[in-house]
């Protein structure tokens, strides 16, 4: 997990100092919200089968595919919502991503 930036809006901040109209004066602040706990299904990445085609990385709506030096090294489970898109787009001859239930996956955590 890369180091998180500071959130531009602070918990407990009053109306006098908040930006106008509910605007968040910065992009990419979704990283501050741990949407991983919404998950009921969990994608499992199999490094040994992966060909690093980056389909999963391109399609993941939550930017939860972790890539280092051009290689998929894992899934950011703090943000992955378990939608299964990555599993669906992983080439059928490769199947480097599989989907399991969160309950099942937790047994091995």
């Amino acid at each position: 997990m890369t180091e998180r930036r500071e959130m531009p809006i602070k918990k407990g901040q009053g109306w006098k100092t908040l930006p106008h109209g509910g605007i968040i004066p910065e992009g990419g602040t979704a990283e501050h919200f741990m949407t991983g706990d919404w998950r009921t299904n969990r994608p499992i990445h199999h490094r040994d089968r992966c060909i690093d085609c980056m389909q999963c990385w391109a399609y993941c709506p939550d930017m939860a595919i972790i890539v280092e030096d051009g290689k998929v090294v894992g899934i950011d489970l703090e943000h992955c919502k378990g939608c299964g898109l990555c599993v669906a787009v992983c080439p059928p001859k490769v199947v480097a991503l599989t989907l399991t239930t969160e309950a099942e996956a937790k047994k091995n955590d």
């Binding site: 809006i9 918990k11 901040q13 009053g14 109306w15 006098k16 908040l18 930006p19 106008h20 109209g21 509910g22 605007i23 968040i24 004066p25 910065e26 992009g27 990419g28 602040t29």
Partner: protein, 402 residues
């Protein structure tokens, strides 16, 4: 004052309908984006404006959309992207915008919109009353009413400056009475393009979506943790609009020679009885005031121009010496305590030490004509109340058959 007269002399006198005056104002404003959908009696404004676009007189991106909901949505997007954005509507069109009205004000986007007041259906009706914008009185939009085409023209430019002021950043509606003003031809003194351009300056909001170096998120979720703060900031901005409205009116007076404020007082100084009214009916009522004055009756008038922000302190001050006030409402609240202007004004006066007696006249619904006779009848009733010291009925319907 001589300077003011000199400036005023440079103006062109034109015969224009209210819609033509507002379309002309839009040409001179030359917004970056106009998204619009036609609806009677507003249609002409955007239709005339579209010919300006087609003739290359303005450099505006004109988006003909499929509904008013889309029109307001499109200008929310373009205003957030940093473009001066306008649309126009009436009645049911405004009703269809409802959801997005709150998004525009909640997101603090200074969109300016002419609204040609028309009765809401049903039964279906295309003529004037104020039920459309009165329904939107809590949507967080500034609301400026116009008595005639001249005021409609002048209010448009001032609305742009008020809405875009850094202390305000709120959307604004400029209204005219459907058909009565929108389609009635009058003499309008117009300013030249350069004077208007200099007065308006360029559109600037603190943050915009197209500033790629400073990315922002517009319209995110704000739940129990932040929504309330956003709304209080919005209410505060509305209050801050008050000094801005006066400041800009003063600046505009220097250009035009025409004076504006929250309201206009007509022979009110020493009045015993007074009528409070919005829009074109004020013109008719002024004639009645003059006639009654000739009889020695101390009648006065207060024409409210700015309904949001509601200038309650100033209204109290202006009306405190009056014995009896009749508030004319061109919309009904159906068994609330009177129409919106009445109930708000009456509430504002509650904590005054000696307060005027107040009664309400709901009139002109669906464009029902209001003539000198009816207004005179109302004044005479106010005089009766002054005699008896008693208001028997809060809500009176003026000009309806029983």
């Amino acid at each position: 004052m001589s300077e003011v007269k000199e400036m005023a002399a440079k103006q062109e006198r034109q015969a224009l309908t209210g819609n033509e005056a507002m379309a002309l104002a839009m040409r001179q404003i030359e917004p970056d984006v106009v998204a619009a959908y036609p609806i009677t009696p507003q249609t002409e404004i955007v239709q005339i404006f579209s010919t300006y676009v087609a003739d290359g007189l303005v450099n505006t991106e004109y988006v003909p959309v499929e509904s008013e909901h889309s029109a307001m949505s499109a200008v929310v997007g373009s205003a957030a992207a940093g473009a001066r954005s306008m649309t126009a509507t009436s009645a049911n069109g405004l009703a269809l915008m409802w959801e997005i009205l709150y998004i525009a004000s909640g997101t603090r986007l200074p969109i300016v919109m002419p609204v040609v007041n028309r009765a809401l259906s049903g039964p279906i009706n295309i003529h004037c009353d104020h039920s459309d914008t009165m329904g939107a009185r809590d949507s967080g939009w500034i609301q400026i009413f116009s008595e005639n085409a001249q005021e409609a023209y002048d209010n448009m430019f001032q609305a742009i400056r008020i809405a875009e002021h850094p202390d305000v950043l709120l959307p604004a509606m400029v209204t005219t009475d459907g058909f009565i003003i929108s389609h009635g031809m009058e003499i309008v003194n117009t300013l030249d393009d350069k004077t208007i351009k200099d007065f308006l300056g360029t559109y600037k909001i603190p943050r915009n979506l197209l500033d790629v170096d400073n990315p922002i998120t517009v319209g995110p979720l704000a739940l129990q943790d932040f929504y309330f703060e956003t709304k209080v900031a919005q209410a505060d901005a509305m209050m801050k609009a008050k000094p801005v409205i006066l400041e800009i009116a003063e600046e505009y007076e220097k250009l035009s020679g025409r004076k504006y404020s929250f309201f206009e007082e007509y022979r009110l100084d020493d009045a015993d009885v007074a009528i409070v009214v919005l829009g074109s009916t004020a013109g008719t009522a002024k004639v009645v005031v003059d006639n009654l004055r000739k009889e020695g009756i101390k009648a006065g008038l207060l024409k409210l121009r700015v309904f949001r922000p509601f200038p309650y302190e100033e209204l109290k001050e202006a009306l405190k010496h009056v014995d009896v006030i009749g508030v004319l409402d061109r919309s009904d609240s159906f068994a609330s305590l009177g129409g919106p202007v009445f109930s708000e004004l009456r509430a504002a006066m509650y904590d005054m030490e000696t307060r005027p007696l107040v009664t309400n006249y709901v009139y002109g619904l669906g464009g029902r004509d209001i003539d000198l006779h009816m207004i005179e009848q109302a004044y005479r009733e106010l005089l009766e109340i002054k005699e008896t010291g008693k208001v028997d009925q809060y809500v009176n319907y003026l000009g309806v058959r029983e």
